[in-house]
Symmetry: C2
Subunit: 313 residues, 2 copies
């Protein structure tokens, strides 16, 4: 049981959120958003991804966004990289951390990458090898993401054994972080307790992060379940940006603002100033066109007399 | 630790939902809503309240609604009663269960009822006495609700000691159910575990229910936390009807449809058919004017291959 009260939040709205919506953010506006969230105390932001610009034009300026983001004090700048070429670009970019996702669902892996899970894990091994062979990149941390770990829109259920086999293989490669993702919002709290208990035990000293989508309303319930078995790192998206295009009205990632509220209300420490975070949310919303945002705290306000965990300590 | 897998859901949208919105439902439409939810397998519905019609005109037809609802097979019909006069009407109405709420926050009790918590508990004792003195009402069950147990819009925090003192006093009166309510949506999962652990231990064989509002997005996370320490009864509102009038966009009670999804996904048994429940939701929504509804499952749909807990057993 992890009794550490410090929680690490990674904002992914600037990557997972923006890649899912129509509105294009300018580089300057991405950077202002990043600065405002860092000023609110968010410790890490996934600022973009090194993917072919033809596939995701919203991410075409990721190198420039990294250039600006690494100038922000006390901010860990991470990027998503889908393959070795992206990983090379990510390591060269100056980002502190690169995240390499792979799907643990065979059906999803075949459909999206045209390769089995085992081949995607080999690709990840090649990324780890590349860093080893290039000492100039030794300071860049490499995380791996286990996508579709809670279910998959193609196969439906994903067997726990498949999740754990993939987790075991990537753990053996000694990444700097393992993120376990409910990519399509299928997960439930009971499943979270089972999966994270196993993976935390397997990961040992390697930090384990949880990446939840709120598509079916269970995002924060899943966070609570993961917290309870010891997870202390969570991905989330300001205003829940990035709703599923196939489910109008469905939220994207767990809402950063509500996540911070829940954690601080529970007496856990995020280091985030909620009022400043809502300023960042307002900035983001001003630059959206028709994209919906989500979250309860922005509407309902904080409870009377609410004090963040640190002020109560 | 309660390892029972059966969950009892009480729909409160027909009371807590309707009393909070502008749209007036006709008696016939209330009854159709009740019939549709009962047909979906919801075991209990709080169909109205016996309050002065001047205060809540939406509830003026509660006696007729009870008349119709008790004709529905296998449905427990409950009503809310705010005082002895309401309790007398409730017992005479034919309802199976009457729920008597009292506020455990002194500030809230004084502001709303012009009396201290101790006097409200005496009022509840008088309701219990009235039933004892009227054997013709011996079959009517009497529940008590501990309102504002997680915080109060006037005083902010409510001390755990105050909650437990009130819980102890009402437990001594041997009610047929104790509901603990986060009336204003201030609660968090850590607080739920603490409060429900204590109250379940205190209540012994008396069933304990949880009544959560999703005002700040933590409704289902709070349900999961309460489940985990042994709560097996939950209040909820179809489509989250009854958002807070002071917080536009803020949901009312926990959304029944999402609650059923979460519980069934976790392998717990509600007896509710989600597809039929969404038919009831559609009926309700057709009769709303401008009132917002909430919930993720109605938008996003069920996960591919999703099967209710009973079909997996």
């Amino acid at each position: 049981m992890n009794t550490d009260n410090d929680i690490w939040i990674r904002e992914v709205g600037t990557r997972d959120g923006l890649q899912s919506i129509q509105t294009q953010f300018s580089t300057a506006n991405k950077l202002e958003w990043i600065r405002l969230e860092a000023a609110a105390g968010i410790p890490e932001i996934e600022v973009g991804s090194f993917v072919p610009p033809k596939l995701l034009p919203q991410m075409a300026d990721t190198a420039e966004v990294v250039d600006g983001a690494v100038m922000v004090n006390d901010l860990t700048v991470s990027v998503l990289v889908p393959n070795l070429r992206g990983a090379q670009a990510g390591m060269a970019s100056g980002a502190h951390l690169i995240n390499f996702p792979l799907s643990v669902s065979e059906a999803h892996s075949e459909a999206n990458l045209r390769k089995p899970v085992s081949a995607a894990i080999e690709d990840f091994a090649n990324v780890m090898n590349y860093r080893r062979e290039h000492p100039e990149h030794a300071h860049v941390r490499i995380g791996v993401g286990l996508a579709t770990a809670f279910g998959c829109t193609i196969s439906g259920q994903v067997a726990l054994a498949d999740v754990l086999r993939a987790a075991e293989k990537v753990t053996a490669l000694a990444p700097d972080e393992i993120a376990v993702a409910d990519t399509v919002g299928y997960g439930n709290p009971a499943q979270c307790r089972t999966i994270f208990r196993e993976i935390l035990a397997m990961a040992g000293d390697i930090p384990v992060a949880a990446h939840f989508h709120d598509t079916r309303g269970l995002g924060l319930a899943n966070v609570d379940a993961a917290l309870e078995v010891g997870v202390r790192r969570f991905d989330s998206s300001l205003g829940g940006l990035g709703g599923c295009p196939y489910a109008p009205g469905a939220s994207g990632n767990v809402v950063t603002d509500d996540l911070v509220f829940m954690l601080e209300a529970m007496g856990l420490t995020t280091g985030v100033d909620l009022n400043k975070l809502l300023v960042a949310r307002q900035f983001m919303e001003q630059h959206l066109s028709d994209e919906p945002t989500f979250g309860a705290i922005a509407n309902a306000g904080l409870p009377k007399g609410f004090a963040p965990a640190m002020q109560r300590a």
